[in-house]
């Protein structure tokens, strides 16, 4: 119990207060149990907490998986009685991880994941076309990591994050009867993560982890304007093809996680997680154009769009039952808080307070593991009252997830 208190104290400093475009799909087995973190059975723990590698019951472990994630958002305007549905493509978040112990006390590993991203596609002529017609955000995290087992019951791990990203954003420029595409396929950023993993008792795992924010910098983006007539391109500082350069920074925010898994019986375990997401960092999005005076600041080439996200929390609860040594059944449920209030709803990254139920089964054959899982999300319908962008109405959504994961613990 003393040990538990120590680990809780580590988080005390941050307990003052996911949604957004954070996609919590980095472990198939974990998703089946509400995407909880304290599961050190194979290398898939690496993304959740580098320290977890020290407790993997194998010297070498490899894990990989992928998901299909679908969602649909409906927006309706009570003033004009217009109604809009998105036509989003199926998202395919993937992950892969490897963990290896060259000596007993030390683990090294590598994790690849896609923790942030979203693609939203509205009809081109929908009422909010000035804000977004299509937005595709993608991120790829590459994380080399290391973990040290400080005692039988505790380990410390840390990772370096190199992130690559892509933004592809179409929106209308209503005043000119045209459209602009904001594109950068080469955004990048850096960050780090660290965590403690505790096993104070054979029945109890506790994972405490922090992942830093990553500021994705688009340094050489292209803004392509398409207007009905090209004669005004020179007036806007655009070249013959209507193009200008831009720079921007998109924050991928920090995340604090505390998770625990308790083996109620040798066959039955329950897990719980608490995540705290630092969305406050996304207070605004600044696009700094090279020449085009399409901004709204003293410097006419700088466009600042207020976002006003707030920090958010996620509560997760999952369970696993071992029917045999080879077959496992899993269930979970979580509540994910939207990172903004109704006053700050933005259609390019629509977000809702969401309840999600999850489930899955896992099979173990010798060193191999195969897991399938699914999730059904129940986003809560909400009012939209964003006076800054003049968007008023109501929004609702539906979403589902399905995943297939593999793990291999050869020795």
């Amino acid at each position: 119990m003393k040990k538990l208190i120590i680990s809780t104290a580590l988080l005390a400093g941050v307990m003052s207060y996911a949604g957004g475009f954070r996609v919590s799909l980095q472990g198939v087995k974990q998703l089946a149990m509400a995407h909880t973190s304290a599961h050190a059975e194979d290398a898939s723990v690496a993304f959740f907490n580098p320290a977890g590698m020290s407790f993997i019951p194998a010297r070498l472990s490899i894990a990989a998986g992928g998901f299909a994630a679908g969602n649909k958002v409906t927006f309706q305007n009570m003033n004009t009685l217009q109604s809009t549905e998105t036509d989003n493509p199926i998202g395919t978040p993937i992950y892969a991880a490897v963990a290896y112990k060259p000596i007993d006390k030390l683990s090294i590993g590598f994790s690849f994941s896609t923790p942030f991203g979203s693609t939203i596609q509205y009809p081109n002529d929908w009422e909010g076309k000035e804000l977004v017609q299509k937005l595709e955000l993608k991120s790829f995290y590459f994380q080399p990591m290391i973990s040290v087992k400080m005692a039988d019951w505790v380990s410390f791990g840390a990772s370096y994050i190199y992130a690559k990203g892509k933004v592809d954003w179409d929106k209308a420029v209503t005043q000119f009867g045209g459209q602009v595409n904001i594109n950068d396929e080469k955004a990048s950023g850096h960050g780090y993560g660290f965590g403690f993993y505790f096993r104070p008792d054979p029945k109890l795992d506790v994972s405490v982890a922090y992942r830093s924010p990553v500021d994705m910098k688009a340094k050489n983006g292209t803004a392509t304007f398409r207007f009905p007539s090209q004669s005004i391109y020179p007036l806007l500082g655009l070249d013959q093809s209507g193009q200008d350069r831009f720079t921007a920074t998109l924050p991928l925010v920090e995340e604090y996680t505390i998770g625990l898994t308790y083996k109620v019986t040798p066959k039955w375990l329950v897990s719980a997680d608490f995540n705290y997401h630092g969305w406050e960092r996304y207070s605004k999005l600044t696009l700094d154009f090279d020449k085009a005076p399409v901004g709204n600041q003293a410097d006419p080439t700088v466009l600042v769009a207020p976002k006003n996200f707030r920090n958010s929390k996620t509560f997760r609860l999952g369970t696993q039952y071992a029917f045999t040594d080879m077959i496992y059944g899993r269930l979970g449920a979580y509540y994910d808080e939207s990172p903004y209030t109704d006053d700050h709803f933005i259609p390019e990254t629509p977000s809702f307070n969401t309840y999600v139920v999850t489930g899955g089964v896992g099979f173990k054959v010798k060193q191999f593991g195969i897991d399938v899982s699914g999730g059904y999300a129940m986003p809560q319908a909400r009012d939209v009252k964003n006076s800054t962008i003049g968007l008023y109405g109501q929004a609702k959504a539906t979403a589902f997830y399905a995943g297939l994961g593999l793990s291999y613990n050869p020795f």
Partner: protein, 520 residues
Amino acid sequence: MKKIIISTIAVSALLFTTSCENDFDTDVKDVAVTSGDASFKTYVALGNSLTSGYRDGALYSDGQNESYPSMIAAQMKLAGGGDFKQPLMPNNIGGFTGLPGFGGKLTLQLVNGSLTPVPSAAGAALDNVSSGRPYQNMGVPGAKSYHLVAPGYGSLAGLATGTANPYFVRFASSSTTSVLADAMAQTPTFFSLWIGNNDVLFYAINGGTNSQTTGGVTTYTAATVQTGTGTSPALYKSNDISDPNVVAGSIKAVLDGLKSVGTTKGVIANVPYVTSIPYFTTVPYNPLTPAVLGSNITALNTGLYGPLKQALTAFGAGGRINLLSSTSANPVLIKDNSLQDLSAQLTAALTPSLGLATATAFGQIYGQARQATAEDYLLLTTSSVIGTTAPGAPAAINVYGISYPLQNQHVLTKTEAGYVKTATDAYNASIRTMADTYGLAFVDSNAKMVELNGKSGITYDGVKYTAKFVSGGAFSLDGIHLTGRGYAIIANEFIKSINSKYRSTLPQVDPNKYSGVKFP
């Protein structure tokens, strides 16, 4: 421990099933549009150019199809409203060939690399569409309040004498009828009335002057601020400010006339301050930057501004003119006919140094001259006057705004703007009172225009509209009338007001779906 876990799971499951609200309370597809206490079967719109759909300095068919009454009527149709017919112009250019002052629309073009509204020739001769009557949009461009009740306002013969209006001539039922009489003949179930704007606007956009052109020479005289009932509106000159009692009386006559045929339900809008429209806010009072004046600053100060200030100071009017600054933007020189005329004094003072003839010219030119201030409004059209040569002025002092004062017709001075505001406030007080007396829905279009003219403008689904000329998106190229999007913003104010008064549920329109300024 086991029990705690089990009960936690049970409680969570309960929370899940009770707090889930993942669907809309009301789907818009299920919303019924109703007319409430009103009937929109025959909706007739009365008013002036704003009601007709006039924009870009002309009435043309595309503009008419985006008039605010036609937008409202389309929504009314969802609640049992009837057809809404407009007296469409025969072309998309507008104007009437052969009628001076009725040119075609302005279009935005690139002239020497900058965007400029360019006028066009009228599209066709005055036509007559009276056979297509009745028209529900009875907005007549140029109509003042008292014109709506004036018999013969649609008389072709009256055009020559200035008692008729070609836009009404097109669709009037007879040469003796009035706009009101033709509206009453339709026994509308609902009406809108937005009138009174021109009763002050003409004064303002002409800088407080009336003009007369004889033999190709136009002369300007100060227009009158009409007050008291002594003068019949029939004797008003075209750019005089109408007496508030005349405006109120005319509106009352319209409301009484409609009431007499059983039309008691409608909506009435007030008059926006003219100074919140781009025609008055685009050209700054101080466009003479050091860069513009260049090396002329010293010469102007020593040769003109200095001596003038010295002479004026001697007569206690030194504040009229300050020396030109070489570091900050300078105001233009204007003539303000509310100032005491110091021409005789100036002539006398300057005769010893300049000689009688030159001194007399100086006296006449600068006797009521002063530099403009932020409280004066330079007209949009004055931008093409500043820096040009004043005809007939002595060569050394003939540059408009710099060495020669802009004339009365170029500027709405602070004093004149005050007359406009006083009259507008009086009109609006009466309109507000009558809206209550007659139990009508009321639209505070003035407040909406002031909001539009504010720094943050009006943002609709991410598109920001302001009263800025061309780039603001709400005002058309004439700087006075709105674009389709601007009219939609107004239509929504009417709809909101109708819904709240008559408990109807007309949906608003989406301004972004209409047309704005067309770029070349």
